[in-house]
Assembly symmetry: D2
Homo-oligomer: 337 residues x 4
């Protein structure tokens, strides 16, 4: 931590900061320049609220040098983390395809979709059992029953399963049926849930919150990792901006930026990233071109009859066409699918 004093800071002011720092057990290196005095603070400054120093008299600015996340940081873990689930290796040279309906609607529906995905290169089946709908009057999901159907459908087709939990109480059933536990965008900073998932022995797919910075996404990953679970897959799905034509603004920079900051794999959710069916493929292609490790896409045999998010769900033939395009783009970035 570095404290930069105002150019007219008094000795008394500097002395008071010294005392507070020493009180908290920190060492200080003082460097006096022509305009500013700068204090270098050494010690465990991670849990300091830097505003506590910023508001002191004579302080110009306080800067945290070390990132507040360690386990997620590439600095301390230079090699890529590869999360292995079923036949998939997320974060490897192979781009991983996750696909399925927004919501599990029935045993028949999910089995039909799982079968249909067989042979497309998809290795992970997605589908929601607990649906956090913005309207209290909408379909709310099949719950544990849905998870059971999805497990069966996946097993019949050699797929792994990813599904979302809403809070701590959903973890127990999820552990029985699911290979990857998903944390939705609205729960990215549900620290009570994150802490619990740190104790779990399953990979976590962590979606970026709608207004979360990349640093906050990494902090959320750190939260889980600090509990002992290091198998985290990050997921970009769009952030909120002033643009109104699209629901969210898919942050394509997230891929090169996160690749530099962290060793964790990062995948793209273009379906939620744009929310309109005929624009899902361009975003999916762009994500792979920018370095995404995988895609999670909503696919249904009859999107127009889907119980939720039909408007952003691909028809099978659209998905198959997309996979072919991804196959070409993968070679441009030295990868395969």
């Amino acid at each position: 931590m570095i404290i930069i004093m105002e150019n007219n800071a008094t000795d008394d002011q500097i002395q008071q900061i010294y005392e507070r720092l020493i009180d908290q057990g920190f060492d200080i290196h003082r460097s006096t320049g022509t305009t500013h005095t700068v204090l270098g603070v050494v010690g465990k400054t991670d849990s300091v609220d830097i505003r506590d120093y910023e508001i002191l008299e004579g302080v110009h600015e306080v800067i945290r040098i070390s990132e507040p996340y360690k386990l997620a940081s590439r600095t301390f873990h230079p090699e890529d983390t590869i999360v292995k689930v079923g036949n998939a290796e997320i974060g490897s040279n192979k781009i991983v395809l996750m696909a399925g309906p927004c919501a599990i609607e029935s045993r028949e529906q999910i089995r039909k979709i799982a079968k249909m995905l067989n042979g497309t290169g998809t290795t992970i089946l997605r589908g929601g059992a607990y649906k956090p709908r913005t309207s209290p009057y909408s379909f709310q999901g099949l719950g544990e029953e849905g998870l059971k159907y999805m497990r069966e459908a996946a097993d019949e087709n050699g797929l792994a399963v990813v599904s979302e939990v809403m809070d701590r109480m959903d973890i127990i059933p999820a552990l029985k049926y699911v290979d990857i536990i998903q944390v939705g965008a609205r729960n990215m900073q549900n620290f009570t849930l994150l802490k619990e998932l740190g104790k779990v022995d399953k990979p976590i797919l962590l979606k970026r919150g709608m207004s979360a910075t990349l640093k906050e996404l990494l902090m959320a990953a750190e939260y889980i990792m600090s509990g002992g679970n290091h198998n985290i897959i990050l997921c970009e799905r769009g952030i909120r901006t002033f643009e109104t034509y699209t629901r969210n603004t898919f942050d394509i920079s997230a891929f090169p930026v996160l690749k530099e900051l962290t060793h964790l794999p990062i995948i793209a959710d273009p379906s939620h990233g744009i929310g309109i069916r005929n624009k899902v493929a361009p975003l999916a292609r762009a994500a792979v071109a920018a370095g995404a490790d995988g895609l999670i896409i909503e696919v249904h045999y009859d999107p127009d009859q889907a119980a939720s998010d039909g408007a952003q769900t691909l028809y099978l033939d659209q998905y198959e066409k997309l996979v072919k395009e991804i196959d070409i783009i993968a070679t441009a970035v030295n990868r395969t699918i």
Copy 2:
């Protein structure tokens, strides 16, 4: 719901939309203009995902006429809702003051603060027992023990109590000790939690999410209200923007806008709205001048030693000075404290 067709939409396209609408049980009024055909859709369109129609061939735009919230809307409930808690009437002509520490740190601390607030005009004691900190390495709160201390401290001083729950599992203990249950900004769209709070017989203080629109805030209130609990207090606490000098941008427009859209009371949290102690008072004054029904403010006898958020917590004398200023401003908007 209104469907506006493209100016070159074909009869076939219109026919297909007709069929889909009739399938779903809607009535249609068709109006053919010189450039556009417009379809007025009558029936229970609340749970329609308008994108399902927007993506159909020949459709230019789909507009939802009715707001997706009803119970929270002033249209159907023109008189102001007044939430009565202890001696406070939130939403009445009297501006309500809620104050206290960020976190309950000990029995002594919360008793000392409650006593100190006696005589300031404050009627509701705030304090956190479950602390959702962004860093997993920070103080996490006293839990139920803290709630017990706060109840005792409040009772000794004739105050009511407001405190936050993190998820469904925290509701049971909260019901024992708390008068108003707070839903934090990060949980504004935790629909699992909101649904549960709809069944509770205590007022809910619902904070606006960091990237939530006012419509979404009202939808979240609707979620709770649809479960039967109509005692909701809305709270503006700042939204995320590109401005970096302040943590959040306090949306002062929220007060006049929400007063028009809803009958629910709306209060201000200037402490989180700006996050810097010496700027809390200007924001608090502004909120009252703009029409806020109350304030929730972090106050501590020794903010510099507070376990969390000390940098945005007021000293008692700062708070007392603020209350005097608010008292003057209240008269400018025909209110009292």
Copy 3:
């Protein structure tokens, strides 16, 4: 234009709106539903400020049906516009490459760069003569002298030239030396400048403003087009969001969305879109994968010594490697370079 009345609007209120509309020369279709009365307004409503009706008593909402832009809209001009400049056809099946330094620094510099770009597939040379720097203390460009150097350098290598003007007074010199006149992000809504450019017989490269919606970008294009100049190239270069790791958030959705809304070509400026050299290539690849018609990229033989924007400027070999990757990605979207 459609006016939706409140569900409790009175006949008097509706009558007043009728009178106002008839005063302004509009025809009205009235449709009375069970809950809402809806007025369809027919006539030249383009220049109506819809807020004038929104604030009237009894009005729930006013919706503009027709887009406020016509000349730029694909509805009225379904075929793609192709802007021909030198050997380049922007908007055709061929992805166009524009490259060069941020600023023209000297005759030698720009000649050296133009020569270096020969054989890379680049057809248009970029370079700034008037530099709108955020600090008044930075290098401000060579002005007309710089344009002369760039023209010479381009001619020696069979390239066309694109360069930015700052205001109306820069147009005359630009006309002498430049093939495409660029309007920078900060000038996207400089309507005085746009109007003047409507009279010019050169293509315009119009950059999206930092906080402009796509609709506003199209409105700015309309401004120029309404003056008679229909050769507009749109350019996505990132918008401002709360994310701080990158300067701007490159809006990758702009490509599929604009392709639907307009017939004008749309290119990408990944250099400004991210502002960090080693992340320019991922963004450039993503833009092409998402449907961009071309790229404008900062390239220099010695970026570290560049007078401005060196940090986001590519080395020649980085640029050549990128062109090869783009070549592969182009095939995935049925295009060539």
Copy 4:
């Protein structure tokens, strides 16, 4: 400027940075900690693009200590600047009222409005002669003729005049008729214009750009001031966010924050800040409660017939009522009107 090295930076990497810094004429203080080496850079670092160092190998982060603005900074000019215009002292203890129509529509209109404002406490007449409308099909202003009418109307009523210029070419006529030259939000970073205004002997009213940070607003002021004109009045008028109910989000924090950062006066434009007539007064009151030095408000004798922005323009009686409320609020912040 401070350069923080990666914790695994090599001596070679540090050596290269040394050489580059010395090349550019800077002195360096090196401080070696247990984890990070920190380089303090001394010299004229204002015009350095810090990204040039951020992209070097082994660099973790580069921090600019000194603000990039000096003339506008309170650090170097602790006393408040008071801009004197006619009878008004902007930045003094007295809150200054500026009012008038959006656009000057005719000689009669502006004379009638000026007369009507007489006795309301207003000292400065506002009105636009050059109208930068977003639609090319809207009313574009009376130009110099309008300025002449406004001057006459102001003189008849003892008022001063503020009006906007669009680019460099409008400055000459403005100098003849106007007391304060306004720079609109869209021109806040029109550096060509700002530079020219630095040479002018009239106060400048500088509006914050729609997506400008407060730092950028101060940088724009610095641009003008560096040319010699130190009479700048800053103006908050709302920034763009994801909220759609209001046109802009009025940043109420701007007042306390700017008061701390700069000695320049700061006023509020609530009319553009919210864009809806019945919400202008709450915002105006809030601005004064938060510390604004003045207000600029759109007022017209017949807003419904105004040529532009009628929906956000106050009736005279609304304005008079607002002035009375402001009078009360002023006492709460120890000021008068």
